[in-house]
Symmetry: C2
Subunit: 349 residues, 2 copies
DNA sequence: CTGAAAGCGCTAACAA
DNA sequence: TTGTTAGCGCTTTCAG
């Protein structure tokens, strides 16, 4: 593998000149530049980014931490982030946090000397994030945030989104509503639950704690929990899963138990991942502007990379309820005569 | 940020000794080692992997290229690969090839001096892979392979899998079978189609080219194509989508068009991604042993990293048909009297 | 067992 | 406009 010295020798110039040409330094004579580039081409030379990184202390690598890569939410986010990073010449080092201790991978991230980190898997009491922030390490919290931490972040308005779900379910007439929460350490789970609970209380139909179960943001767990909920004597008429993946699990469980959605059971998710609109799910859920969140995350990071001392910004993105076909009035309400019309109205968005 | 010199000074030893301690060199006196480690701990020192990489020419970074990260197949593969790499102290630099020119990212990969590359998005006529192989760059082809290239690879038996689908559909009585292919440049698409076509011909019901359409491994495209296929005067009684994602698209389209699956239309996929078994899909498909493929890919790569001259190995993994609820005899056959029984048999696996 | 010294391949002053 | 010269932080001989 050729080095810049090899091509310098071959082109009859100094190594420094080669470096200049490759970095687009304007004060290189055109003929010289041409000669160098010719050799670069001929020897198929690519500069060693490691060496470059050592001296410039810029690796052009960005660590991205996700909590569960098989949750379709993350690939969708990653796709957007990866493309934006690419446009800025940055490369993505991916970490799937699932199960791992967070300090382990963060340490790895640091050893690797990534230029910055985009965290999408932070937990509310993360000591690690706190340390990184204290060290003034360039990082942005995306989607989730950390309690009491001042850092750049791009998050959705979880409270508002969940509140909208509560309104929706309440006005449909639901009174026994179950909630399948996510990881309780995630701000997303916490806030969605809080927003839902508060709004439900406001509307005079407080949440029954017996009906709040923990699904860990996992489809399988939500599936099992739904089966369990449906088996109860006084089963809920609606289930609010704190993310779409769990809502899918609930939907599958309902199908398994031969419980019709939405006539016998309403299901609501959160995120509006791309599959949520599929006919086979047609899920009522809360939309989060993923593309914009991704763009802002990358922008926040690159701007901090360029100007480390700039003031911290917190971007909150609106969440909007998307009513599709998995919600309808509860069976009881149906018997009271609001059935067919309401069913049609809610049947399709 | 402290360097090894800082901790050397603090511990009253030479920088070389610090390096030795950190690399577990056995010939360091225990008291010395303890002193060094104490300082390392106290100063919260982490070695600079860039510098280390420069001298050892080992970055501990592995490039992983996927063709479309939102296809659930890849996250599932990535999850396994990431964990295995992690166990070996390697980190993953992810590239989503979607739309990008392959030489662009491969060049980036090389600049970054990743130790090796796992390609899951290779196209059959890839010049880039050819060049990398010629350069003896450590790489493994996973899932897809490249025409006429000798390299380490871990692929599924696509021909056999597709043949099994052909057998299954034929014996159910289907004669008008449509195929939604993937990216024609991918070996997976090519081989699955070839295997399917050959077996169908053997069974005396050759494939009608009018019914072969290109879905590019994309759900949306498959959705549209299915709608189009269903609108034809002489519509197919079965659709073989060359991956699960497209099969999901077909299923959604069928629902949209109010065509019942499997009584009016059979649908088969390929890959058996984790969602395929969900009640809402219950998709008949071809299982690929993803976990083993991932493990082998990482093994092949790490072994080559350790012993660059070892002989090339090609691992082919068996593909097995998984019959679930989306396949049944065609409507015509049903009219001939094989309906209800067959329907039940196929209705659930 | 430990220290001194020579780079790894590049960027960035500083000279010329 | 180009060349010379220091390092970046580490691993690794080679001497003690």
């Amino acid at each position: 593998v050729p080095t810049s010295w090899d091509i310098a020798k071959e082109a009859g110039v100094s190594q420094a000149t080669v470096s200049r040409v490759l970095n687009g330094d304007p004060r290189v004579a055109d003929p010289t530049r041409a000669r160098v580039l010719e050799v670069v081409e001929r020897l198929n030379y690519t500069p060693n980014a490691i060496a470059r990184g050592l001296v410039s202390s810029r690796t052009m690598l960005v660590g991205v931490v996700v909590s569960d890569i098989v949750n379709p939410f993350y690939p969708q986010l990653l796709e957007a982030i990866a493309e934006l990073l690419d446009d800025r010449g940055l490369k993505m080092v991916l970490f799937n946090a699932r199960g791992r201790e967070e300090d382990v991978y963060t340490k790895l991230l640091l050893e690797q000397r990534v230029d910055g980190i985009i965290f999408t898997a932070a937990v509310r009491d993360s000591k690690m994030v706190e340390q990184l922030v204290a060290r003034k390490f360039p990082l942005v919290l995306t989607n989730r945030h950390v309690e009491g931490i001042t850092a750049d972040m791009a998050v959705g308005d979880n409270q508002a989104g969940a509140a909208a779900v509560a309104e929706h379910l309440c006005s449909l007439g639901h009174r026994r509503i179950a909630v399948i929460t996510g990881d309780p350490r995630a701000s997303t789970s916490y806030e969605r639950l809080a927003g839902f609970r508060a709004t439900l209380a406001d509307r005079g139909c407080p949440l029954d704690d017996e009906l709040v179960v923990e699904g860990g943001f996992l489809a399988k767990k939500a599936y099992d929990l739904t089966l369990e909920l449906l088996a109860r004597k006084d089963r809920p008429t609606a289930i609010f899963a704190l993310n779409d993946l769990m809502a899918f699990g609930a939907l599958n469980a309902a199908t398994h138990a031969a419980v019709d959605v939405p006539s016998q059971l309403s299901v609501v998710g959160f995120d509006d991942v791309w599959m949520a609109g599929w006919e086979r799910f047609d899920l009522t859920t809360v939309h989060q502007p993923l593309a914009e969140m991704a763009r802002s995350s990358v922008d926040l990071l690159t701007e901090r990379l360029e100007e480390p001392s700039r003031s911290v910004r917190k971007l909150v993105f609106p969440s909007t309820l998307v009513v599709r076909g998995t919600t309808a009035p509860p069976p009881a309400a149906t018997r009271l005569g609001r059935r067919s019309k309401a069913l049609n109205v809610q049947g399709k968005e």
